[in-house]
Amino acid sequence: MGISAINTGNNLVYLIVAALLSFMGISGFFGKNNLSLVDIDIEFPQEIYAGSAFPLKVTLINKKRVLPVFLMKVNIDGHTAFFPYVESKSKSSVYINISFSRRGRKEIEDLYIYSVFPFNFFTRYKRLGKKFEFIVLPQLKQCTLLALYEKDRRLRGDRTSDSTGYETDIVSIREYVYGDPMKYINWKATAKTGKLKTKELSSLLYRPVIIDFDEVAINDTEEKISCIAYSVSKLIKNNTPIGLKIKDRLYNPDITQSHKINMLRELAIYEDR
């Protein structure tokens, strides 16, 4: 078209060429602008287990004053989050399914945004130079170890705790509160008082168990870690206080969620390569 403009000397063809050139120039500017003032935030779920997919929340923050972000893709370790349109001065989130095969400390370093906007001719990239660190917990693998501890626990017997739960012993009877399960209504007391009464049952607290990492007789370290992790997670679910002895460190038995995570993290970074 440019050549034809020069060769014909026709100003109207020149006008088209001028329009095309400025169009290309402006679109180049828009393409560049599209990538600027864009920030990416990633939110990790608390528990990321090796080998299983989890949803990763990717948020794109458009800090531009006027222009929206068009057709932005975010590369996160080879996974892509796609944002078709984000208004100026606003943010948008998408979830991408992602999984890591190995436990341990992980870094997302290769974080870049790219877009074909405004025209599908070429893709512009921009590295964000941001780093996200997180720990991938070991894969949970069912194994016989748990059965061993279960057995051990049964042998030692249970112990009632002072806290209420939904086990068998009645601790007290109280007024019905909306939402109490029907089966816990004490009909006898209800009949007596004429008001709905609920049984308060004790929760059982099992005897604490401590897993000594070195004592577990599994040769393959990964297998061993996965197995211990599985046991830890399962036992805590069953309300069994569990502790862990690993590398001169002792986690005293407990049943809280944060305790579980701490132990799994310790396992995750064990001899991390």
Partner: protein
Amino acid sequence: MKIDNVTTIKIKSLVTIISYLIGAIGFISVYRYINPLYSVAFVFLFILSMFFQYKQRFYIPKWSLNIFSVLLIAFNLYKINTEELITQIVQVILMIYAVKFLEEKRVRDYMQIYTLTLFLLAGMGLLSMNISFSVFLVIIVIMLSTSFVLLTFYSQEPDMELTKKTAVRIVLKSLYIPCLAIPLSVVMFVILPRTQYPIFDFLNRADKAKTGFTNKVRLGAVTNIQEDASIILRANMEKINNDDLYWRGIVLDFFDGVSWTSTDKNPVPQSSSIIASGKTIKQTIYLEPYADRYLFALDKPAFIYLRGIRRLDDLTFRMPSFIERRLRYDTLSIISDYLFESHVDTKIYLQVPEGISQDIKNLAKSIMKGEDRMQDISSLISFFNSGSFMYSLKNLPITRTPLDDFLFKNRYGNCEYFASACAVMLRLAGIPARLVGGYRGGYYNDVGRYYLVPQKNAHVWVEAFLENKGWVRLDPTPASIDNFALSKKVHFMFRMRLALDLINYYWYAFVINYNLDRQLGIVFAITKAVKRPDLKFNTKTIKHLKYAAMFIMISLLLFIIVKVIMKKRDVERLLLSQFYKRLDRYGYKKRESQGLEEFVEGIKDDNVKTKAWEFTRQFEELYYRDRKLNKDDIKRLKDIIKAI
């Protein structure tokens, strides 16, 4: 997924709809210039393709469409001729355009459609110089950019659905691109490189020749010109007295009783001066194409600047070929009723038709006694202006003896009859005379500072030769100025048209006629202004330039101030970088990944480390409390850094 109250639009449908709109506009831009058969074919195929699109089935296989396209090109190649080359190319492009619409369209096909649209538009540019081109250009640029953006969305995810709100937003925001691109293309247009000699100049099709003066004018034929509503020329110049507005074009000197013709004239060098006294007026004339080769300029044109122009000895200017394209030329004219010449060829200028009637001879003799030529001339003019002759454009005597009918029977006619009768009678009285064809009057546009001269102002007048005086202009047509000037009663619509013509004028002046010369002109003007601003200090343009420069300087200054203030807010970062610089002197470089404390902890020299900790502690205390640092804080921290 369908959410209540939220209508979603498929991006694919959006792209399709806009592409069809573009297709329709592409077609409209060229249909006037091509064979109607092709137009009909295109419309048929276009509607058919809409039907296919609606049914989501494309009944004609792609290969057969491709074969059709190839055959079409081959057929047109076979028929090709250089005269109508562009028209043929446009027709072929239009057919391929239709074929593209008939196919099932993917991203690539849409891109091809858009490219073809631009080709069609270029074709329109080559086929027409009309201002409507710019309208099409703007519409197409806007639509194409919107469509391009949507197409990019489509290419990323073909099944994407947008809410109506988002779709509208995307379209609106993508309009920023043409909004910025259109002004930029004006700049681009000015600076794009030009050549002096286009190679394929013939591709620019000539505008259709209009009516106008030719070197043979039959009596009564000028009415055809006068009934033409179009414009013949625009002349950029100062406003002058209406009585002086005679646009000289052609000189007619041979009369056979029915028609006037122009005999062969000798070219004279343009440098030879004309002898006339009066005011010199410079004009820049934009002449529309018409049926002959003569250029028009204000009467007594002394000089016309145009490549290839020839001046003839009857003071007319002629181009080597027919004026098939709009021309722009500068000319200098001397406003004068007289043109001095020492002698003339009486054989030419005293010629009368052989069968001229005795009645006319007698009439001439009765009016002009032959004692005083000046007296004779004035009595002849007053004979025509006495009131017994009427000016009329209707029922003109187009007979074998038009002059007799005019003088003795009808006693009405238009300028040709008056001028012819006058010239013939002058010749009969022994005064050499000739007819000058051109235009009379014009409408001055005060904004654009130009005269608009329509075809209806076509006029013929007489030049008579007097010894020692030369050629004197005579206009026997009664009250002619009223017919050609803008009277107060003129229709409002006509005034509106005049005002609107300004757009046309600028279009021709600045777009169509923009060329290497003018481009260089701009460069020279700028360099001149830049090199010697002091010399032109008090001219108006420089004054404007000065204001512009001042405005830019002030904005720049404000920008810098704002930047500095903004930076001040970021004083924390500044302090940190000073701190790092200081430590860098001792060879401690902070790595990107290191935190501030981590970095300070890594310092081996105890003395430095203590001071660095001092800074870190104080800095963090201020920074993490989210408190703005005041002057004292900054000074304290700076002192610590200095002490390190």
